[in-house]
Symmetry: C2
Subunit: 228 residues, 2 copies
DNA sequence: CGCTATATTGTTATCCTGACAATAGAAACG
DNA sequence: CGTTTCTATTGTCAGGATAACAATATAGCG
């Protein structure tokens, strides 16, 4: 490592890719920027890391401040860091990106430094430009989510505390973007120990045969995995 | 994102976990620190990112400056970032860690800011303390390598341009720390399209039946994978 | 009551795997 | 030289996982 004379001041930010399911469609949480640069454009929630703050708490704080979402995410992991010299037109800025997954939530509320916050389906965000390199970060987050569905229990983080196998299947279908065979999926989920645990209750109300309710099991890694 | 008044100066460094195989044993490249803090202790090669330098070039430059290794790694990917407020006793420092994999190389030479550089087997480094949180970074790099062997062609990055299936198997055995069935491994490697391509040549000299020589194929992802 | 929709369970041919046996071809040994 | 030894490569086979698809279960609805 070099001497202090090598010092050059970097800005350090955290940005969060928050994914959820709304009406069986994958949505991402975006804010409308309330300050320059990229004022008024869509961006991932995020902001500067404070002097004595660790990275993960900074991600949660910015999420809360900019969108009003203060629930502890069911799932939060570091995604990657982005540090191209020109990624911020003003300063040399490094961003550490996080991936968070939440069950369906009420509408977010705009907060500090954001004029608006809301859920956007991937389809409606496909056309629109995102601030900075947030398009790259979003794509990396989606790819990470797609991969993690295979061999971890990430899918349960999209669900309410109690859920049916069909609801879990719709998570996979939304994230992977293709239909899955209900019968085979049902068997594979129940064959993976610790993925889901039956609650004994059944879901009433819906059409068709009532379904068993499950909660997330203890397993974080799936054996066998649910292959794409 | 916040206003400029939020600015707080961060130091930003890159650290590299360089793995290779020497005598069929997994080794990691470490330097003996030549400056404070942790003067004289073992550390991953790395250092400060320059003002207009992207992260990956910074990792390669520090690797070259501190160890004399200027070969383009056969494999280089970002690992994770580390930003605990107290990870550097002097300043608030964020480190972006990279994982690199190389075939067997000559001894490294100590360079700037490093009193010595050398290959250390994981066994001999198990006891010794590493500077900063480099123990955590090393463990994360090893776990990433173990996982990537399963479903990518990472293992070929440990090998010379031409290699035998047995040499490839010894990569897996060294990284996973357990023996594999030679027959089953042989079949699985050849059954994964694009993993290896035959060169037509055979390796002479060794004991036993001569083996076919292969080169790395085009595939980056393995279908089917080589499961642990 | 029959229809429809969804959940759940079966069936089956195929593929992949691990354990282990068998064969191939060179060097080492006596 | 013939035999042994060592490693590479191929073969066998039972068990588990998969996909495609069929069959059954059980609710709401007209």
């Amino acid at each position: 490592m070099a001497l202090q004379s090598d010092f050059f001041p970097f800005y350090v930010t955290v940005d969060v890719v928050v994914l959820t399911l709304r009406e069986d469609v994958l949505h991402v949480l975006l804010v409308e920027r309330g300050s320059k640069p990229y004022l008024g454009e869509l961006a991932l929630p995020g902001g500067f890391v404070q002097p004595t703050e660790d990275l993960e708490p900074a991600a949660l704080r910015e999420l809360r401040e900019e969108t009003g979402i203060s629930l502890r995410p069911r799932y939060l992991e570091q995604l990657s860091s982005y540090g191209a010299p020109d990624r911020d037109p003003r300063h040399r800025t490094i961003s550490i990106a996080y991936l968070a997954v939440l069950p369906r939530l009420p509408e977010p509320t705009a907060g500090t430094d954001a004029r608006a916050a809301g859920w956007y389906s991937l389809e409606e965000v496909a056309d629109r430009a995102l601030a900075f390199d947030h398009r790259d970060i979003l794509e990396d987050g989606l790819e990470r989510a797609r991969a993690k569905l295979e061999y971890t229990s990430l899918a349960t983080a999209f669900c309410d505390p109690e859920f049916t196998v069909a609801q879990l299947r719709r998570v996979y279908e939304a994230v992977w973007g293709r239909p899955l065979d209900p019968g085979n999926f049902h068997r594979k989920v129940l064959a993976s120990p610790g993925f889901v645990e039956p609650t004994g209750r059944v879901r009433s109300g819906g059409r068709g045969r009532p379904s068993q309710l499950y909660r997330a099991g203890e397993a974080a890694v799936l054996h066998p995995p649910v292959l794409r």
